[in-house]
Symmetry: C2
Subunit: 157 residues, 2 copies
DNA sequence: CAAGGATTGACAGGTTCCTGTCGAATTGAC
DNA sequence: GTCAATTCGACAGGAACCTGTCAATCCTTG
């Protein structure tokens, strides 16, 4: 009822758009990765360890997710043979997630599909519009990150 | 590795930004609604039935979610007393979700917090940047929606 | 080198979304 | 008016995220 100021209204619009786009992107990601036997979440994990093995916690930090979420995905990937846990010279308990041949093969397949798709979608949007969107969303994200950090609590993030 | 064309790269950047912003927005929404005893998902459902009672299926359509997801949230809201199921003159089995006094009170509280928050965040961003972001994200969403619709399957969406 | 703090993997449990299926109620075609 | 298609709520099960907690393993400090 109480009319929001223009800025606030625009910000709220952005929220709604982002929610919807996020849902569609997940759907698209699942569709892209399904033929390789993957899902969005699993594909993303594979992508992180593509440039080198890493611990579950390190992958989680890279992805901005909770350690435990990535653990679940990683275990699933391992039991499907896309990934193996290899010894970590720097840590006895924290083994390294490493791509198997099958994992690398699946990843390459998804990446090819992704490239074609991103190309098609990216080309269908005015370049200026696209880069403005990226910049605006990034700016909003940065503000929000600051806004959400009251003070870095001691333990776990 | 294989370098994506510029458009595709920008599109991929947008995806990453949207994923991150989405996560932060959910976090912010939960923080805004927690003092009222709600969460993002529950708040959104209350918002839909604020302008009048509706069936679970109708709410789901409005929100763009599966019927079953909203059912779960609605049941939780009902057992917490924010909502009740009232008789539906047009349908014997499909009762209407309706706000209770407590539900309306909680919703108003969250809306007030949301307004203050959106105002603060919205004002901290250059207006041009913000509207460009909204426009760009909307455009991307529309393309993606088209891209994802192969043909409207018969039953359930 | 010994103690304290931080990080890690494991496990438990919860939320919010999904798909799939079922029987009941409504609606539409004939 | 009857019969088929659709819509609805209920229930089962699963995916992907979360928080909280524990013991084991670092790592830093003194």
């Amino acid at each position: 009822m109480s009319p929001l100021p223009r800025d606030a209204a625009a910000f709220t619009d952005l929220i709604l758009e982002v929610f919807q786009l996020n849902g569609l992107l997940l759907q698209a990601g699942d569709r892209l990765s399904a033929p390789a036997g993957l899902t969005s979440a699993r594909w993303q994990v594979l992508g992180v360890i593509d440039h080198g093995p890493a611990t579950v916690a390190a992958v989680a930090r890279t992805m901005g997710l909770a350690r435990q979420s990535v653990q679940q995905t990683a275990d699933a990937l391992a039991s499907d043979g896309f990934v193996t846990y290899v010894e970590n010279p720097h840590h006895q308990r924290a083994k390294l997630l490493s791509l198997t041949a099958a994992g690398r093969r699946a990843l390459r397949k998804v990446e090819a599909a992704h490239a074609a798709w991103a190309n098609r979608l990216g080309a269908s949007l005015a370049p200026g519009l696209l880069s403005a969107a990226v910049e605006g969303v990034r700016e909003a994200r940065l503000r929000l990150e600051k806004d959400l950090t009251p003070e870095d609590g001691a333990h776990e993030t």
